[in-house]
């Protein structure tokens, strides 16, 4: 009855497009011998839907959402690890990873410059930009 449970159940007419790329880790992954594209394993997505999800997360991440790219990489971590399986999904996940690293590098460069540089580097603008002053001015921190 194992055939009912493998992800190829609904694609029984197609040949298996996902040969197990790493026979050494087969026993450590799952007894059915199948590598799942998501980190949830058998509880997650099948391969066809994962391409769709990876693509949508990648595209949405361009709306200033590097965290979404990071979540994309986290969710499809097995795709990154096994480089020969899941070719279409891997394309988007790798691009998300690159995007996330670039954005994080830029953002942390700016944030670190701001916090370490402080007033000596920026002058009076620092006081105008720092968050707790902005909050005080807008009255946001009046709750406690």
């Amino acid at each position: 009855m194992e055939a009912n449970l493998s992800p190829n159940r609904d694609r029984s007419s197609n040949p298996n497009p996902n040969p197990n790329p790493n026979p050494n880790s087969m026993s450590s992954i799952i007894s059915s011998g199948q590598v799942w594209p998501t980190i949830d394993g058998p509880l997650g997505l099948t391969e066809e839907t994962s391409v769709d999800y990876a693509r949508r997360f990648y595209k949405f991440g361009f709306a200033l959402l590097p965290w979404l790219w990071a979540v994309n990489c986290f969710y499809f971590w097995p795709v990154l690890r096994h480089s020969r399986g899941f070719p279409q999904t891997r394309k988007y996940v790798v691009r998300s990873a690159i995007g996330f690293s670039v954005f994080t590098a830029l953002l942390s460069a700016w944030a670190l410059t701001f916090s370490i540089g402080g007033e000596e580097l920026f002058g009076p603008v620092w006081d105008k930009l720092v968050m707790y002053n902005v909050a005080d001015r807008l009255g946001l921190s009046g709750l406690a």
Binding site: N4, L43, F60, L64, W67, W110, D136, L140, A144
Partner: protein
């Protein structure tokens, strides 16, 4: 289909399933206590009632100068208004679900998650930044907050998202709402908790209760209730040949496969009651209304999945689900206890966990919809007052005389 084998396998996986639901509840409570201890410099109730007004303080705003009897009466009025508001909102939800406006409900869920994460999350982060004088600039802060909220909406909205991230975001939403509820005046908080526990019993067990209606409709239509519900990871059974998949609607297909166990799924379906939280209204009026719904927990227990596995090799997930409202009110209780002293926190935490265990046990005994709030809240409230009035005196005396620390 050996009976003994089934019971042994349930006991094996029961510990893992219990941990799967106790861990997030504990994390939520711990985080709320942490936030309360960090951010609560002013213990008096008058300032907090002035700064946080919601529908729960609409009838009466507590101030220090009132007598005890006035405070009690005012708190009682507040709770009555709040419970009435929740009842109305729950009936509206039942009506919408009956009229099959599922898309609207899902959209509303996503919208409320966004409001909670962006608004309340932003406020708490600002409070933390202010408290620790963390030198972050507003641009970075806005980007981070925007990211955090939007991905949270995705986690709640998108049906097959990463389990861990969805669970994390639900716990965060619970923490945020619970923290804001702890800022209600003290008497109001306690009477509100008791009133909600009583409402929970009524709404779930009475045949006219809105939650019971909702559960029955969801079961009869075989749909998921569109609400914020925390779902623990389904337990994978190592001894079985096949592996359980998180099957959302495939119960029907599995029923068709074997005719001899066709009546089994309905009997084995254990329904638990949980709370679900939906939020309405904007924060800019200073009003925020929380409406709550108790939902049954659909737990396809290990028994049914074992029979499926032996018969046809396809199991349905036996995941425990707990509504977000339960998280919130447990954490409110513990957060309020933290405002007095940490000793009451320990007492209330143990009481709540014990209550949750009792609720799960009652569930397995009765095999029908049960409310998740009453036992824990009642135990928690009793333990809080016992600890505050009796235990503290004892422990302080012992410590100051160096008998026991």
């Amino acid at each position: 289909m050996d009976r003994n084998q089934r019971h042994r396998s349930i006991l094996d996986s029961l510990g893992e399933e219990l941990i799967g639901i106790l861990t997030p509840v504990s994390i939520c409570m711990f985080t709320v206590v942490l936030l309360v201890c960090l951010l609560n410099s002013d213990p008096s109730s008058s300032s907090s009632s002035a700064s946080f007004s919601s529908i729960a303080t609409a009838a009466y705003a507590e101030s220090d100068s009132d007598s005890s009897w006035d405070k009690l009466a005012g708190a009682f009025l507040n709770s009555l208004v709040f419970v009435a508001a929740i009842t109305v909102a729950t009936f509206v939800l039942v009506l919408l679900f009956y009229l099959r406006c599922v898309k609207f409900l899902k959209f509303y869920m996503g919208f409320s998650a966004f409001v909670v994460l962006a608004n309340l999350g932003g406020e708490i982060l600002v409070l933390l930044i202010d408290r620790f004088r963390f030198p972050i600039d507003s641009v970075t802060f806005l980007i981070l907050l925007f990211n955090f909220s939007v991905v949270g909406v995705f986690a709640v909205f998108v049906s097959k998202f990463s389990i861990l991230i969805t669970q994390g975001y639900l716990v965060v939403i619970g923490v945020l709402v619970a923290f804001f509820f702890t800022m209600l005046p003290e008497w109001t908080t306690w009477t509100l908790l008791v009133a909600l526990a009583i409402y929970d019993i009524a709404a779930v067990l009475l045949p006219v209760g809105p939650l019971r209606l909702l559960v029955e409709m969801a079961i009869s239509r075989d749909e998921d209730i569109p609400a914020l519900v925390y779902e623990a990871r389904p337990v994978l059974r190592n001894d079985s040949v096949s592996v359980q998949r998180r099957v959302w609607r495939e119960r029907n297909s599995s029923q068709n496969h074997s005719s001899d166990i066709e009546n089994a799924p309905r009997e084995d379906e254990v329904v638990r009651v949980v709370r679900v939280e939906t939020e309405s209204e904007e924060e800019d009026f200073g009003l925020s209304e929380r409406s709550e719904i108790s939902m049954p927990l659909i737990d396809r227990s290990g028994e049914s999945s074992e029979t499926f596995l032996e018969g046809i090799g396809l199991g349905s997930s036996g995941a425990i689900k707990l509504g977000l409202g339960d998280f919130i009110f447990y954490s409110v209780l513990v957060g309020r206890a933290a405002m007095y002293d940490l000793m009451t926190v320990y007492a209330c935490y143990l009481a709540i966990i014990a209550g949750l265990g009792v609720t799960l046990m009652l569930l397995s005994v009765y095999q029908k919809a049960l409310p998740a709030l009453p036992v824990s809240i009642m135990l928690g409230v009793v333990f809080y007052f016992l600890a505050r009035l009796l235990l503290e005196v004892f422990v302080v005396q012992c410590s100051s005389n160096l008998v026991m620390f």
